[in-house]
C-alpha cells in the first residue's frame, strides 16, 4: 500500500538560513512524488514533482527536492529561507504501477520562518 510520512509537524528556521522539510514514502513500484504548499486562506499550490530522470528537481519560489531511492525520501529544500515561505507544506506520492490515479498526501509540515 502507498503511504507518505512527514515526520515533523513543524519546522522553525531563521530567515536567510537553509531549510529542509522531510518526506519519506512507501510504494510498491517506482513513485511519482510531489510537493504542494498551502498559504493561509488559499488553496494548495503545486511546487515541484519528480517523475523520472535527474534526482534533483527544481520548482517554484527557489525550492528544490532530491529523490533518494535507497532512503525512500524526497526532502524539500531551499538554500535561503524567506519569511514569506512560512506556510503548510504537503508531500504527496502516486504509484503509477498499482495505485491508479490515487494521490496519497502526508499530514503536512508547518514551516515558520522568523525574521
Amino acid at each position: 500500500a502507498q503511504s507518505v510520512a512527514q515526520p515533523e509537524d513543524q519546522v522553525n528556521v531563521a530567515e536567510g538560513n537553509p531549510l529542509t522539510v522531510k518526506c519519506t514514502y512507501s510504494v510498491s513500484g517506482n513513485p511519482y512524488l510531489f510537493w504542494y504548499v498551502q498559504y493561509p486562506n488559499r488553496g494548495l499550490q503545486f511546487l515541484l514533482k519528480y517523475i523520472t530522470g535527474d534526482n534533483l528537481v527544481k520548482g517554484s519560489y527557489g525550492f528544490e527536492a532530491e529523490f533518494n531511492k535507497s532512503q525512500t525520501s524526497f526532502h524539500l529544500k531551499k538554500p535561503s529561507a524567506l519569511v514569506s515561505d512560512s506556510a503548510l507544506y504537503f508531500c504527496a506520492v502516486r504509484d503509477p504501477d498499482t495505485g491508479g490515479f490515487k494521490t496519497i498526501f502526508g499530514a503536512g509540515t508547518r514551516l515558520f520562518v522568523k525574521a
Binding site: F34, G43, F46, K49, P96, G100, F101, K102, T103, A107
Partner: protein, 115 residues
C-alpha cells in the same frame, strides 16, 4: 486566468440532510479530483474523473457519497444522509494532463459542518 472555484465555501447541514458541493475546474482541464481533508490532516483521495468518465472512485468512504461530471467540466459531489464524521473540508482539483504524472490545481475548498 481563473482558477478552480468551489461553491459553497461553507455549508452547515443537520445530520441526515443531503448536500451537494460544486466544483468548477480550470477551463480545458480534462482531469478532476475530489479530496476530503480532516482538520490537521492531509487531503484524502475520494474520486477521479477523466472528462466525464469516473475512472477511480476507490476513495469514496460509503455509498452515501456520489460524484458526477456529466459534461466533462463542472463536477458535483453529493453526500446523502450526512453524518457528523462527514464534517471536513472538501477539495476539488483539476489537471490539464490525463496521465498520473500531472500536477493538480486546487480550489479553495468547501468546509462542511454537520451538526
Amino acid at each position: 486566468g481563473a482558477g478552480v472555484s468551489q461553491s459553497p465555501r461553507y455549508k452547515v447541514a443537520k445530520r441526515g440532510q443531503d448536500v451537494a458541493l460544486r466544483c468548477d475546474p480550470i477551463s480545458g482541464h480534462v482531469s478532476l479530483f475530489w479530496y476530503q481533508q480532516a482538520l490537521g490532516q492531509g487531503p484524502e483521495f475520494l474520486t477521479y474523473f477523466q472528462n466525464e468518465a469516473q475512472l477511480d472512485k476507490s476513495g469514496l468512504p460509503s455509498d452515501r457519497f456520489f460524484a458526477e461530471r456529466p459534461e466533462g467540466s463542472v463536477s458535483t459531489l453529493k453526500i446523502q444522509r450526512t453524518q457528523q464524521e462527514d464534517s471536513a473540508v472538501y477539495l476539488c482539483a483539476s489537471s490539464p494532463q490525463t496521465g498520473v504524472g500531472g500536477e493538480q490545481y486546487f480550489g479553495p475548498g468547501t468546509r462542511l459542518t454537520v451538526t
